[in-house]
């Protein structure tokens, strides 16, 4: 679609720089030059964001013409690597560059795909959220053709994502991430989920529509974020105490108000595991023959298997019953008559200690506020109401609870996610119109249909692909260096699992090997694409040092950055507006991507590359050709590695054997297969049709947004409140690890609690200061971070236009401090300050605001660049420079949290330099 001199065209394509995409756009091209971006309003009627892209998409033009782009392939001439070592990059031809990579791959294949520690010799890291796959063309087929690869070197995963939500969300409601059903929702308790900055164009639009309709959102967070600003109420809470707040809201609802008055009792009895009886050892009491969990029927005073006719299931009380408990490993207890309680009674007992006054002391939120929020939540839950969706009557429960990053990951994440899901369950507000909804699945399969993955376990709950912790099945040998399959049963084994394990552990272990664990090794080759862990990981400076130790790094690069500074080969890829790809669109997805359509869209070259860059698809094909794996590569594409399988029982657009196809041919076949599949063969389009039209859609039923009707059809219950499986896996995992002498994961094992007990989570970070031999009194502030819509995921910090407009949003020019706290320290607006933690230091200018707790400071985004052109001169601080990677700060799911204790002082050096 490139244009010649004198022509003006508008080229349809997409922006998928963040997980809340896609945003469909048109690129105006004059005389072959991309001049402007505008919304693609052709899709206004189908796109839930009405075809409007967010601010980031408009940076793509400057990205294309950035004079700082790497303009040709380069190789490193300085064998020493490090921040202080000039890489000595020199230009080389594409042939030389591709041969160098292919030669390396051939040599590695000769040595064997795994090293002596059993780890893959090839590693690759991609930016977060899966967005790089929307740009990397057929590169996934290269990985598939290759064989075992270590995709578990994190760039911030775990600490920067909704980690506990990912894992427990998929366990409990097939929700890799959650959204509220904005078109129907009326009331939201939001603990720090910055959706108006992170939800993309669609999330913002639906949120604004909901507010205009009357939705009330109460924002509970330490600083007044963009989303807090747009909420009816901001409740300033002490950092990391959100679980205490939510526990007390639950207490208000089920204890003070009384669950019979406030809860959806029918739902609890029929559609959750609340009535399952729990034995004295903490496991479900089961019928001895079938091993089915039992429920006490009040109608006739007997315990019955959960899936039999039960007239009146007991939710509270204690009963004497017979049955067996299946514990961890092979533990079995048989009871003839033993006191048992319904899981819900266990909850009532458990939550008794967490009253609003207790929470007030813990989280600095008045007890009356907690009570009122609980009452509002119940009032808006509209228990008993229904709504008609596409002719079907469904429950209407227009209340939601959202959790933000740093709330739902790291220590305390499990507690917060459990409490959130429980709140939803109490009033039946889960996976029904108006309530919390899962967006998509990443751990369960199939990946493109969350409903099909919801099959019943023998206990009548959703089955889940836990990594085995049994004696026979446990993987004592980690598949990759982060050990997800060994350490984190919940991370499962899907293609996404490596990134959802403890993705920071490889960096940590590379520095200091843990006991009784395969020797940490360096990957023989590391590919990095659209990722910059040297900046984006917690403790970026430390990670940069580890990256410098890698022997052979291949970086697909757009400009110089802090990670590709350590590369051996730098390959400039054709960027967003210069390359070709077809991608799925529609259905349900991250942010608030809830469509009534689904289909395919194109990203296409609006202009020719402005530098000597290659399309990722051509790069992948060329490397495979030169490395002798073209056959498996083509086979992988045929199987769907480029997003759509080319061969099925209805069509065959497959690639042949060892033929090297060019980019357009590969995507033409993908286009035909995709359109064939979408239209059942009615409407088959090649890539040229997509280039002209931009996208192809078919209808997607709104019913698909909601999981509850499917569970109901299949007789599956939500597994709440009691976590029997978690308890069993925890004990088994502890046994396995201790059997092989691993004791450094013991702290994490505490999370495997069937009813999570609150501990004072903030203390973990103050204790960490002590662990580092320093006095917590010296570090009086909580330092946090927050999402920048303008920058997040975009790798666009080197684009001046984005910088210019981001400056309009407070906090983008430095570190946000409470006005009074700053005054007490003699710090004025714009003063240069030094931010010091027990392990790191960063610098920036003070941004004084009222909307932040006096004990908290905030550094938006991820900056502190030292190599990226333009960005390195911005003098912006970064939380990543003052956090530390540590097992002490890692939870059972293998995640951490973006929080650290710091002190703030005037930067006298900078001030005197300025004056």
């Amino acid at each position: 679609m490139s244009t010649a001199k004198g022509e003006t065209k508008k080229v349809p394509t997409y922006c998928f720089q963040c997980v809340s995409g896609p945003d469909l756009i048109k690129v105006e091209v004059e005389d072959g030059i991309a001049t402007r971006i505008e919304p693609n309003l052709n899709i206004c009627g189908q796109h839930p964001g009405k075809g409007t892209p967010c601010v980031k998409a408009y940076g793509l033009v400057q990205k294309t013409y950035n004079p700082n782009r790497i303009s040709q392939p380069m190789k490193r001439t300085n064998p020493k690597k490090g921040r202080d070592e000039d890489p000595g990059f020199v230009p080389i031809s594409w042939d030389e560059a591709l041969d160098a990579v292919a030669d390396k791959l051939v040599k590695i294949r000769e040595m064997g795909l795994k090293d002596n520690s059993g780890y893959p010799r090839l590693a690759a890291s991609f930016g977060g959220g899966g967005t790089p796959t929307r740009f990397m063309g057929s590169f996934p087929a290269l990985l598939a053709a290759w064989g075992p690869a270590d995709l578990g070197f994190g760039a911030g995963q775990g600490v920067k994502c909704y980690h506990s939500e990912h894992l427990y969300g998929e366990l409990w409601q097939r929700a890799f991430t959650l959204a509220v059903d904005s078109p129907y929702c009326e009331y939201v308790i939001n603990c720090g989920n910055n959706v108006d900055a992170s939800g993309g164009a669609t999330g913002v639009r639906r949120g604004a529509e909901a507010r205009r309709r009357g939705l009330k959102r109460v924002m509970v967070e330490p600083h007044l974020s963009v989303t807090g600003a747009m909420s009816a109420e901001w409740v300033p809470i002490k950092p990391k105490t959100d679980a205490a707040f939510l526990f007390a809201v639950i207490h208000r609802i089920i204890k003070e108000r009384g669950w019979r008055e406030t809860c959806d009792v029918r739902f609890l009895k029929e559609d959750t595991t609340s009535p399952y009886l729990v034995g004295p050892n903490g496991y479900y009491l089961r019928e001895p023959d079938t091993e089915k969990p039992l429920i006490w029927d009040l109608a006739d005073g007997r315990a019955k298997p959960f899936d039999t006719a039960i007239e009146d299931p007991a939710l509270d009380g204690s009963y004497s019953a017979a049955g067996l408990e299946l514990g961890a490993d092979d533990e079995v207890w048989r009871h003839d008559g033993v006191e048992v309680k319904p899981a819900f009674q266990m909850l009532l007992d458990h939550i008794d200690q967490y009253n609003p006054e207790w929470a007030e002391a813990e989280c600095d939120v008045p007890a009356e506020t907690i009570r009122r929020v609980g009452d509002e939540f119940v009032a808006h839950a509209r228990v008993g109401d229904t709504i008609e969706i596409e002719g079907e009557i469904l429950p209407l429960r227009p209340v939601g609870v959202m959790l933000g990053k740093s709330v739902n990951n790291g220590p305390g994440g499990y507690h917060a996610v459990w409490a959130r899901t429980l709140l939803s369950v109490l009033v039946g507000a889960i996976e029904v119109p108006g309530s919390n909804l899962g967006t998509k699945v990443r751990l369960n399969r199939p990946a493109n249909n969350k409903h099909l993955s919801a099959v019943s376990s023998r206990d009548g709950i959703m089955d889940f692909p836990f990594n085995d912790t049994s004696k026979e099945g446990w993987a004592s040998q980690p598949r990759i260096r982060n050990g997800y399959n060994t350490l984190v049963p919940l991370s499962s084994s899907s293609p996404w699992a490596p990134a959802l394990g403890p993705a920071h552990l490889p960096w940590l272990f590379q520095k200091e090997a843990p006991d009784n664990w395969p020797r940490p090794t360096l990957p023989d080759i590391w590919f990095c694409y659209r990722t910059n862990p040297a900046i984006s990981s917690w403790n970026g400076p430390e990670v940069a040092e580890r990256i410098a130790e890698f022997p052979f790094t291949v970086a697909f690069a757009y400009t110089q950055d802090e990670t590709n500074y350590m590369a051996d080969i730098v390959l400039p890829e054709a960027t967003d507006l210069e390359s070709l790809q077809l991608s799925r669109i529609g259905g349900t997805g991250s942010g608030e991507q809830f469509w009534k359509h689904q289909g395919w869209m194109i990203r296409q070259p609006a202009v020719e590359p402005t530098v000597d860059a290659m399309d990722m698809t051509d790069i992948a094909t060329e490397i495979c050709k030169r490395a002798g794996i073209l056959g498996p590569y083509n086979m992988a594409i045929n199987k769907g590695a480029a997003g759509m399988k080319l061969v099925s029982n209805k069509f065959d657009y497959g690639l042949e054997g060892d033929v090297a196809y060019d980019r357009d041919e590969i995507w033409d076949r993908v286009a035909k297969a995709a359109s064939h599949d979408l239209s059942d063969g009615e409407e088959i389009h090649g890539i040229d049709w997509f280039k002209e039209h931009g996208y192809m859609l078919r209808e997607f039923a709104q019913r698909e947004w909601y999981l509850y009707p499917y569970l109901k059809e299949r007789g599956i219950r939500f597994e709440l409140p009691y976590q029997e499986r978690i308890k069993r896996h925890g004990i088994q995992l502890a046994n396995r690890l201790h059997e092989v002498g691993v004791e450094w994961w013991d702290k994490q094992l505490k999370d495997y609690d069937p009813l999570p007990k609150y501990e004072s989570f903030p203390d973990i970070w103050t204790d960490f200061v002590r662990e580092k031999g320093q006095d917590p009194e010296d570090f009086p502030f909580w330092a946090l971070t927050a999402r920048s819509m303008q920058y997040a995921w975009g790798a666009n910090v080197g684009i001046p236009l984005i910088y210019e407009v981001a400056e309009n949003v407070a906090g983008h020019s430095g570190i946000v401090m409470n006005m009074q706290s700053a005054k007490d320290l003699g710090i004025g607006q714009g003063d240069p300050v030094v931010i010091t933690s027990a392990t790191g230091v960063t610098r920036g200018n003070a941004v004084l605001r009222q909307g932040i707790r006096p004990d908290t400071v905030l550094m938006i985004g991820q900056f502190d660049h030292w190599a990226t052109p333009f960005a390195k001169d911005l003098n912006l601080p970064s939380l990543n420079s003052v956090t530390d990677i540590s097992l002490s700060l890692t939870d059972g799911t293998g995640s951490g949290s973006d929080i650290v204790r710091v002190k703030i002082e005037i930067d006298t050096e900078a001030r005197s330099a300025a004056s």
Binding site: Q62, A208, K216, E233, H380, N808, V809, G851
Partner: protein, 537 residues
């Protein structure tokens, strides 16, 4: 294409929808190819109140396409006009870049870029492709995407309904916070949204009738509230980091101030000298010498202004708007003054003396009206400002006359007149200044500008007011024996006049900040929306 005369295009912006994402800002930059740092559509990030009672909101700003636009009448060239459909337009080919419209705008909507800058420091292919040389050195502002509106109308589309006839910011807004349409059509979306007092206009009290109207409530759930005194207190207005606070204007610098200083004192001298002459205190020769000196001072001042305008080759365009612009009128006064002065030197006559004096008076009067018409600068638009400029000009003239009288033959009596008039004028100046300072806060001058005025005030009272009053009085009471006393008093008057004018024009010249008379009801503590136990409307 001329729009229907019945239309009145404008916007409604919903403060409960806008999340401050800057998509409109950047979409505008794309649609209008604005250069680095120029944002015709800007969204500022506002805080109200103090922790723990805080509200944060995002305020969409830009040209308000006022129904009574203060930028249009001041423009000396006619480059800024208002169309029948309400759009306030810019003609880049006529504008001289004098910046008068920019200081007249109370919404910080206008910019002048003096040289082409590039985002990466060097031109890229894309920036070169979309660069607009005609916009360098002239006033720029939001056009409501007039080209889109006009081409849309030409194609039968309806602005506000059809995207192709609607400003880029409105169609790109991801929150549906920006609505565009025709307020003259009671059935339009914007008219409906803003009906029944649901919207407020910014700075309504200035009489500009801006055509951006802000929605602050959520009908059916949260009504919104009136602004309270502690939403934006004095401390907040002293914070230069607060986006509500107007920054010091940069359009008129020392060059403009020199015109007010030298022009004022020159014109004052011509008037005072003429008064001395007609009362017999100054011979014709002395009058002509003083008029030449005054004319020289005024010429230097005018040359400074010439240096200030960005498009110098077009300076004659300044004559194009005598109907409304005091700047044009000032030029006409100049156009009479200098030929009359020249003629008077060649053919001296009482009639020409009078014409020269009247032209100087007209010049001084025009100057006195120029500054207050700049509605965008609270310190300038104060009601007393024309009187202060007139009184100071005359006082400076008296001061100069007092200095000159001793040096000119046969002009000693002029010193007596100068001292008498100067003493009275110094008292008037002192009273005017006292009242100006007393009224500064209530007339909208913010604390930063007030502090600058305060810094000046003490010295001004001594040098510019007390010294002339006492000096002239002493000179008179000593029976005119010591002319140097009058000269010192005169010097004080001149220094005082120049001092305050330079200060007011270049230092205490903060732009009108942004303000909201109504605000959404949300935030923490006392600002939170009320508890709601029922279901939504």
């Amino acid at each position: 294409m001329t729009a229907p005369i019945t239309a009145r295009y404008g916007m409604v912006i919903d403060l409960n929808s806008c999340v401050g994402c800057q998509t409109c800002t950047i979409a505008c930059k794309h649609a209008n190819d604005t250069p680095p740092g120029v944002q015709w559509r800007k969204v500022i990030d506002v805080e109200l109140g103090q922790y723990p009672n805080v509200e944060r909101l995002f305020l969409v700003t830009g040209c308000q396409h006022c129904a009574a636009p203060p930028c249009v009448p001041v423009c000396p060239t006619g480059a800024t006009k208002q169309r029948p459909d309400g759009l306030v337009t810019m003609n880049y080919d006529t504008c001289i870049g004098c910046g008068y419209c920019a200081v007249a705008c109370p919404y910080q909507a206008r910019t002048i870029v003096h040289e082409q800058n590039w985002y990466y420091g060097i031109p890229t292919a894309q920036e070169t492709q979309v660069a607009h040389d005609d916009r360098i050195g002239v006033a720029n502002k939001c056009t409501f995407c007039v080209e889109r509106i006009d081409s849309g109308l030409a194609n039968g589309l309806t602005p506000g309904l059809d995207p192709d006839a609607t400003p880029a910011c409105a169609i790109s807004c991801i929150a549906t916070a920006i609505h565009f349409g025709d307020f003259a059509d009671p059935g339009s979306d914007v008219s409906q949204l803003a009906a029944d007092g649901r919207a407020f206009q910014m700075h309504e009290e200035l009489g500009t009738d801006p055509q951006i109207k802000y929605l602050y409530g959520l009908p059916g759930s949260t009504p919104g509230r009136d602004r309270t005194a502690d939403d934006v207190d004095e401390a907040a207005l002293q914070d230069p980091g607060n986006p509500l606070v107007g920054q010091r204007q940069s359009f008129w610098d020392m060059r403009a101030a020199m015109n007010f200083t030298l022009g004022g004192m020159g014109a004052g001298l011509v008037i005072m000298a003429w008064l001395a002459h007609v009362t017999g205190a100054l011979p014709q020769t002395g009058l002509l010498i003083l008029n030449v000196i005054a004319g020289g001072a005024m010429a230097v001042g005018l040359f400074c202004v010439f240096l200030e305008i960005a498009r110098k080759a077009r300076f004659l365009n300044v004559l194009l708007r005598p109907q409304t612009s005091w700047m044009t009128r000032e030029t006409y006064a100049v156009a009479v003054f200098y030929p009359a002065l020249l003629a008077d030197l060649i053919w001296p006559s009482e009639a020409l003396h009078l014409i020269v004096a009247l032209a100087a008076a007209a010049f001084l009067y025009c100057q006195a009206r120029i500054l207050p018409a700049a509605k965008g600068i609270p310190a300038w638009r104060a009601p007393l400002m024309p009187w202060m400029l007139l009184a100071t000009g005359l006082l400076e003239g008296a001061g100069l006359l007092a200095i000159a009288a001793d040096m000119l033959p046969g002009a000693r009596e002029a010193a007596v007149l100068a001292a008498g008039a100067g003493g009275v004028l110094a008292v008037i100046n002192a009273l005017l200044w006292r009242n100006y300072m007393a009224e500064a806060k209530t007339s909208g001058v913010g604390p930063l500008a007030r502090a600058a005025l305060q810094d000046l005030s003490h010295g001004l009272r001594i040098v510019g007011h007390a010294l002339p009053v006492l000096g002239f009085a002493l000179f008179l009471s000593l029976f005119f024996e010591y002319p140097f006393v009058a000269a010192i008093a005169g010097l004080g008057a001149i220094i005082g006049g120049a001092w305050w004018k330079i200060t007011v024009i270049t230092i205490a010249s903060h732009q009108q900040g942004f303000a909201l008379s109504k605000v959404p009801q949300r935030g923490s503590g006392t600002r939170a929306a009320p508890a709601r136990m029922g279901t939504a409307a």
